[in-house]
Subunit: 141 residues, 2 copies
């Protein structure tokens, strides 16, 4: 799953949990409401459990519960938890041997540039909380 899809799918699940916080919600329940495949949800929520965004309980009447208030959950930590490969797919073709110095210098240049952009994106996401997203999606225009 691309980083962006994982991120939006995670937020879909977390928003559902925020709105159904009285009892644990199973991946099947979340799936039928959000439309995201249950297996994929489990994979994402397992990662989010590791960083303490949700708590999980197995067995009958188990499921997922939001572990923190929505205002204390921000996109950046979600992104970091679910994303293994670095970056938003801003890749430069891997350097091949025997090319000119310029070519590898330019590769480095763009790797640096993309890393910089990556940091700015994460900085932006650090200021976006689940709370703010819930507010935003609640107001119908």
């Amino acid at each position: 799953m691309p980083a962006s899809t994982k991120l939006s799918n995670s937020v879909k699940a977390l928003c559902f949990l925020a709105r159904n916080s009285s009892t644990p919600q199973s991946s099947a329940t979340i799936s039928s409401s959000t439309g995201v495949n249950a297996s994929k949800l489990r994979r994402l929520l397992a990662d989010l459990a590791e960083i303490g965004v949700v708590t999980t309980t197995k067995g009958a009447s188990g499921g997922y519960v939001l572990a923190r208030e929505p205002e204390n959950i921000h996109l950046q930590e979600i992104y970091c938890a679910i994303e293994d490969r670095k970056a938003f797919h801003l890749d430069v073709t891997s350097m091949t041997l025997g090319q000119s110095d310029d070519t590898s210098a330019i590769n480095h240049y763009f790797l640096d540039l993309f890393a910089e952009i990556q940091i700015e994106i994460e900085e932006k996401m650090r200021n976006l909380t689940l709370e703010s997203i819930l507010e935003r999606i609640s107001q119908k225009d």
Copy 2:
């Protein structure tokens, strides 16, 4: 080709042209120096010719020449010329029918967010000229 790869490949070609500006350079020549496939170079350079960044001449001893000074060429226009599909691959899974309002609202939320990020990236690239890249890659640390 992903946008980021197209961009770096374009810059590789343009840097080569900037450093060999006395005569037209063929795609084959640029390819052997940069390591980028000649066909792909022609595809990219054809787009760059349309926006007047390079001029092309066909036939014997023809090829590509930089049409402007490197300080008047910036990354944003290169990016826009070569990129057909929008955005740096910050996609949200296409919305499926029959899902909850929240789900589609969240899709919209991320589409907006990614569009915003996209604009910021382009803004950043507008300030990066070919000249500045040439300077940067010339200084060996």
